[in-house]
């Protein structure tokens, strides 16, 4: 931008009749100014770059470095090469934690996105009514509170005498009631329900915002052509909110893979590691069993996993947006 302007100015000056000598001076001065501006700009980036380098890039590099060592955090560390990684591949608990994280995607991401889509498609028609406006505030509440608080609330709701079991007894399902978070078969889905509760409002409102941008004429045309609600949803609504779906999926998938707060509060990874997730396992390995190298190896695999899952989703939505 500044380049076009400088040539423009010097052109005007040249036409007025300055000598070629002073023109040369001027150009040099301009180049110097641009260079100085470049240095100023780089200087402005420095504080953010330093904070980022010291508290993100450096620990990131250290995580990779630690992963090749055996270290208890106190005594001398020893180089063990890829040992931590091979041990990870043979360890049921660590592998299980990765499997659990992948399973949580279903609850933290797919369920709220699909429910959100269906609900938003139904609510779309009166999105500007007072009820819908109030619902925006109410449905956002779970996004605002700490996940720890969500964990505490739901631990209580899902307990043996909690509201969930009470409701089940009331509708005659007393036979299936149990301590949902304490049963190895149901603990992971129960943790998933908490995550789904947190994510639903965000997904719904995100998708609703996307749907409000759709031209109503499209729907009217579809109606005239005799399209039913289902047809309408799949041929108009869904394609129009692809980008919003992509965003909702990305955000919630990251929250599933990186789950920590909810699990820490509601189950601590138990019972029998049935809800262990990588984030929590890194915490236990790094700070309780003091296997810093092993914790770091898991952290590296964990990062790779997040990227491997999130990047394809990003690419898909980018292409869809075109």
């Amino acid at each position: 931008m500044s380049a076009t302007r400088t040539t423009g100015t010097s052109g005007v000056r040249g036409a007025v009749g300055t000598t070629s000598h002073s023109q040369e001076d001027r150009r040099r001065a301009l180049r110097a100014r641009r260079l100085r501006r470049g240095w100023v700009a780089l200087g402005l980036v420095v504080p953010a770059a330093v904070a980022y380098a010291v508290f993100v890039l450096r620990p990131l590099a250290l995580t990779v470095q630690y992963s090749f060592y055996k270290w208890n955090g106190v005594t001398e560390s020893t180089w063990v090469g890829l040992d931590n990684y091979t041990r990870l591949l043979g360890d049921a608990r660590m592998l299980g934690s990765i499997g659990n994280a992948l399973q949580l995607i279903v609850y933290f991401s797919f369920i709220p996105v699909i429910l959100g889509l269906l609900a938003a498609a139904t609510i779309r028609k009166f999105a500007t009514s007072r009820l819908a406006l109030v619902s925006r505030t109410v449905l956002f509440l779970p996004q605002v509170i700490p996940l720890v608080a969500a964990g505490i609330m739901w631990t209580w709701l899902l307990a043996t005498d909690g509201l969930v079991n009470e409701l089940m007894r009331a509708i005659g399902l007393g036979g299936v009631t149990r301590a949902w978070l304490g049963d190895t078969n149901t603990a992971l889905p129960a943790v998933g329900v908490i995550g789904a509760w947190v994510a639903l409002g965000l997904c719904l409102i995100l998708l609703l915002a996307g749907m409000s941008k759709i031209d109503p004429a499209l729907y009217e045309a579809a109606r005239i052509d005799g399209a039913g609600a289902v047809r309408e949803f799949f041929s108009i609504t869904l394609p129009s909110v692809r980008q919003e779906v992509g965003v909702a999926v990305t955000v919630t998938v990251i929250s599933a893979l990186a789950a920590f707060d909810i699990v820490y509060i509601s189950t601590q990874g138990g019972p029998a590691n049935s809800t262990m997730v990588p984030g929590l396992e890194i915490y236990y390995l790094g700070f309780f069993s003091r296997e810093v190298g092993q914790a770091s190896a898991l952290a590296v695999v964990f990062m790779a996993l997040v990227l491997a899952v999130v990047l394809p989703i990003q690419r898909l939505t980018r292409e869809d947006a075109r």
């Binding site: 993100v56 990588p278 964990f302």
Partner: protein
């Protein structure tokens, strides 16, 4: 648009059900908090005699005054600094575009999907070596760094979208870079800045992992971290735990209800840009 009545009714009922599902856990928390301490109340039963004193007890047990103050101090340490340095970097990368700005920006983007757990182990040893473990700095400093990918991306996107003509006109009028920034760009950035500020405020307030790992004294933690400690201590006394949780939630809820429009916008934009 023609909307059939049946569809509207179904939609309204659905919306009300979803709102109920969202609110009932809060109500349950409140009702449980009013039961006799040490009991295990069931469901949504209103107690015969509500124990309002639970809130007072929880306030004292959790040392709420100190917790609030600690969270406020951490917010003051994190949000203004992060806002300032992210704005400077965003202005430089989005508007001035010095040589190498693409590479720098891509390096920042690297950290965008990074879960905090991936760096928490080295961060612990880094804080130990700096002698900052168990101080508020152990939460403040890493958070500023960890917010940078998102914050710089956010502010850069804002400055990229500012019309060039504006800066050009100011340059022709003889404004230097500093004047251009403070007089033209900054005043026009208030919406972007306030959204980012709200997001970072919320993330800091609710930050749990860093608080649990790096600070063992609950009164030097964030609200969420303190809640974790409170649960560990009072986990068996359910009504008191519920009362404490509610107290810890209240400040967030009040701030949210006052600034609800800004919060919803910020969270939506945050999700869309992230």
């Amino acid at each position: 648009m023609i909307v059939s009545r049946r569809e509207t009714v179904v939609g309204r009922v659905l919306l009300i059900v979803l709102m109920l599902v969202t609110v009932v856990p809060f109500v349950s928390l409140f009702v449980t908090a009013l039961h006799e301490p040490g009991t295990y109340p069931s469901g949504l039963e209103w107690p015969e005699t509500p124990y309002w004193s639970n809130f007072v007890d929880a306030f004292q047990a959790a040392n709420m005054g100190a917790l609030l103050w600690s969270s406020v101090l951490i917010e003051i340490g994190v949000v203004p600094v992060a806002l300032l340095i992210a704005t400077l970097a965003g202005f430089a990368l989005g508007h001035l575009r010095p040589p190498g700005h693409r590479v720098i920006f891509l390096t920042f983007l690297l950290g965008l999907t990074l879960p905090f757990q991936a760096v928490i182990v080295p961060l612990y040893y880094q804080m130990r070596d700096l002698g900052l473990l168990n101080t508020r700095w152990a939460i403040i400093l890493p958070l500023i760094g960890l917010y940078m990918p998102f914050a710089v991306m956010w502010m850069r996107a804002h400055f990229v979208n500012m019309p060039e003509d504006l800066s050009e006109a100011a340059r022709i009028d003889g404004a230097g870079t500093w004047k251009l920034f403070t007089r033209i760009h900054l005043p026009l950035s208030t919406p972007a800045l306030s959204s980012l500020g709200i997001l970072m405020f919320l993330w800091t307030w609710n930050q749990f992992l860093l608080a649990v790992v790096l600070v063992s004294d609950p009164t030097r933690r964030t609200m969420a971290g303190a809640l974790g400690a409170f649960q560990g201590q009072w986990g068996t006394n359910v009504p008191l735990l519920c009362a404490g949780s509610l107290l810890i939630l209240t400040p967030t809820l009040i701030v949210f209800l006052i600034f609800q429009r800004q919060f919803v916008t910020a969270l939506m934009q945050g999700a869309l840009k992230g």
